[in-house]
């Protein structure tokens, strides 16, 4: 084994940066793309489900029924799109996508309230939109619970008031329940995965495509040196991207940071290792850049879906839930989010760190070993 020469590695890194600079597109892309993604994720994925178009079908037309429909439309969750008079009209409105939620106030509603008889409001949800159909019911239930207190609580002193429980609800760590507060920490990890494995694999496959890989190997550069020289620049690019996202997240989206840079840094460093390993594996498996690109997508998609980044893991069927345990993104997401918002430390997060370290080292080592084999072909 030839001793590692730092001078050769330095030169390789220099070459890699030269190449990066010469590609007019790649540098702005590497720095602009994460910001663009952050904005899209922050504003689209991170936006809370509000302003859902609501249709009101009021069969009653009394003060009470108006109070009920106002209870819905005055929240930020619903926005009055239209009022309809008949069931048929409502069907047309929902079919034509003019409203995604509707409330149906029955005739005699106001009467029932004054006479203190039970009554019910129908909530109709458009089931063709997943997100809406899941959350609108919860919103409606919450609004009705409050409305119930307003309509019935105020009237009775006869002991028939049903507010037997005084509920004090407090939301911790993210009091306004802003989705973007969860999204930004998660994006730190996701961006590493997306860009590092992509750029890294593209760079290696490009050299193979252009035949410069062979040229490099007839030089005295050892394989280890080549790998370090190739990996380090992209690790640095990853670091720059994280910094940009972190700054934009804190300054523009005002995501509070309650954690420690040490914990987040350690977690992301481990995860970077894992992403580089994936990049190496992809570059070994692909002959052309188009293939590498498809393969990256192929590997990333299941990770995004099965990590809890976008969708709650609790809703997965049990056998798929088992699969999530081998997905590194799952662990880094818990680490980054908990540390970012709750300030959790190594003490609470050690199981995630242990799992992440194990998986990252395994993936990186595997990528390294396959890469080695490929070069000796």
């Amino acid at each position: 084994m030839i001793p590692v020469s730092w001078r050769r590695i330095r030169l390789l890194i220099w070459k890699e940066f030269l190449q990066l600079r010469r590609d007019k597109l790649i540098v702005p892309m590497l720095l602009i793309a994460p910001v663009l993604q952050l904005f899209l994720f922050g504003y689209v994925v991170g936006s809370d489900i509000t302003n859902l178009r609501l249709a009101v079908l009021d069969h009653d037309h009394t003060t009470q029924s108006r109070q009920a429909s106002e209870a819905f439309t005055s929240t930020r969750y619903f926005e009055l799109a239209t009022t309809v008079e008949t069931e048929a009209e409502l069907t047309k409105v929902m079919d034509g996508n003019a409203a995604v939620v509707a409330i149906d106030i029955p005739a005699g509603f106001g009467d029932a309230v004054t006479k203190r008889q039970p009554t019910t409001i129908g909530v109709i949800v458009d089931g063709s939109d997943g997100r809406v159909s899941q959350i609108a019911g919860a919103y409606a239930a919450g609004i009705t619970a409050e409305l119930n207190r307003d309509l019935y609580g105020a009237v009775g002193s006869s002991g028939a008031s049903i507010s037997r429980v005084d509920l004090h609800t407090k939301v911790l760590y993210n009091a306004e329940m802003r989705s973007v507060n969860t999204m930004v920490p998660g994006l730190l990890a996701l961006l590493i995965l997306m860009s590092t494995s992509m750029v890294m694999s593209q760079a290696v496959v490009k050299e193979r495509e252009q035949g410069t890989l062979e040229q490099l190997f007839v030089t005295p550069i050892a394989r280890g040196e080549y790998l370090i020289g190739k990996l380090l620049p992209y690790a640095m690019v990853g670091l720059a991207q994280i910094t940009v996202v972190f700054l934009v997240g804190s300054l523009w989206f005002r995501v509070p940071f309650r954690g420690s840079l040490l914990v987040i840094g350690a977690g992301l460093a481990l995860f970077l290792l894992c992403s580089l390993g994936i990049g190496l594996l992809i570059s070994v498996l692909s002959r052309t850049r188009a293939q590498a690109q498809q393969l990256v997508l192929f590997i990333q998609l299941p990770q995004i879906f099965l990590s809890g980044f976008l969708f709650p893991l609790a809703a997965l069927p049990p056998w798929l839930y088992l699969v999530t345990f081998i997905i590194p993104l799952r662990y880094i997401l818990v680490i980054v989010r908990s540390n970012y918002l709750k300030g959790s430390s190594f003490l609470e997060l050690w199981p995630q760190f242990a799992a992440l370290a194990l998986l990252s080292l395994a993936i990186f080592a595997f990528g390294l070993s396959r890469f080695h084999k490929q070069l000796t072909d």
């Binding site: 994925v45 008889q117 809406v132 619970a145 429980v165 802003r178 709650p312 609790a314 818990v334």
Partner: protein
């Protein structure tokens, strides 16, 4: 026409020669179909919940029972001190801690409201939102039950206890199956990805490999070349739509309630839009990398984010809503979902069809102009 066909045949040979690419174009959609149909769901059932019972009376027990029986909360454990509550949150074991206060039973027996505190971990806003709403509903139902019992005990008329309830009906997808809304959406997304990305690649590739000059000096007319290059991807896109629809309908039991003819018309219009976008990119992009990148940015991001596929556009800030009107994806998303799930016809979908037609005309003119000039 004969020459365009020859180009198309050459293109098919290229596709066939790259088996890995072909595998990805076929396999990737299948994986997505599978993931979206089985894995992805927004259900916020079974939020992990810990109980802190400070009261230890039959009444507090009854309240906790009501909580345990609901499908929204999944009681994972009991804690006995504030320190334990903190630990539960910091280790991510629970998302909700319900504290039943001292004197809960006595208060209720005396006719006063009992005190309950709900602590919710806000780091997962969706489950936090649901936990907040459902705990309110649950407490109300519990209160009603207790009130009825008390009135009966006193010999009063229990129907005096009245309250407001809601009944929720989910139209078009009564069981809220996630496959029902994801699979039609996925057709749109996959079509967008394949059609834009591959057309964007096709011309640039020839330019990079230097074979483009060879084609230009041959007797092929530029427009014949363009048609010949694009046609194979139009065929692949169409096959993809048919394949996913058939798999979705047969294997995942997705309802198809609308008209096949209308859906076909919409698909043709949308494929024209996508191929036009791809061609425009191909004409403008200097390198293959650039073409891929731009295709990713204009095709895939707006497709996923600004189409209403996952995230309702109602909730997006106004400037992004405006942006979403520029891309054709949102119109085709509405068309697809409405036809599949609602069985809506042209009478409700005409605005979307009009928008798609306008976009298709504009993009075809723009891309052929750009192609004539740059290529």
């Amino acid at each position: 026409m004969r020459r365009a066909l020859a180009i198309a045949r050459k293109e098919f040979i290229h596709i066939r020669r790259d088996p890995r690419l072909l595998l990805m174009v076929v396999l990737l959609p299948l994986i997505q179909l599978f993931l979206f149909s089985y894995a992805v769901s927004f259900d916020v059932k079974a939020v992990p919940t810990a109980i802190y019972d400070q009261d230890h009376t039959p009444m507090s027990r009854q309240y906790i029972d009501a909580l345990e029986q609901s499908t929204y909360f999944h009681v994972t454990g009991y804690v006995n001190s504030d320190a334990e509550v903190d630990a539960e949150f910091e280790t991510n074991k629970t998302r909700v801690v319900v504290t039943v206060g001292h004197g809960f039973g006595n208060d209720i027996a005396a006719g006063n409201p009992g005190q309950v505190q709900i602590l919710i971990d806000g780091t997962e806003p969706n489950s936090a939102q649901a936990a907040q709403s459902y705990s309110a509903v649950l407490s109300q139902l519990f209160g009603a039950k207790v009130a009825i019992a008390q009135l009966q005990y006193k010999g009063a008329d229990p129907t005096k206890v009245a309250g407001l309830t809601t009944t929720t009906r989910t139209w078009y997808n009564p069981e809220s199956r996630s496959a029902n809304y994801f699979v039609p959406g996925l057709i749109v997304i996959l079509l967008t990805t394949v059609a834009i990305q591959q057309t964007a690649n096709t011309l640039v590739k020839e330019k990079e490999q230097g074979t483009y000059e060879q084609l230009i000096v041959s007797p092929i007319h530029k427009m014949e070349l363009m048609v010949g290059k694009i046609a194979p991807w139009a065929v692949v896109s169409a096959l993809e739509v048919i394949a996913i629809s058939v798999i979705g309908i047969l294997a995942f039991q997705i309802p198809f309630r609308g008209s096949v003819a209308l859906f076909t018309l919409g698909t043709i219009l949308y494929v024209i839009c996508c191929l036009g976008i791809g061609l425009l990119i191909s004409a403008i992009a200097p390198t293959l990398d650039a073409a891929n990148l731009i295709a990713g940015l204009v095709g895939i991001l707006p497709g996923f984010m600004l189409s209403g596929f996952i995230y309702p556009l109602d909730s997006v800030p106004p400037f992004l809503q405006l942006l979403s009107y520029i891309f054709p994806t949102r119109y085709f998303m509405t068309i697809t979902r409405t036809i599949f799930l609602k069985g809506g016809g042209f009478d409700v979908l005409w605005p979307q069809f009009a928008a798609l037609t306008v976009f298709a005309v504009v993009i075809v003119i723009a891309s052929s102009a750009a192609y004539r000039e740059r290529a």
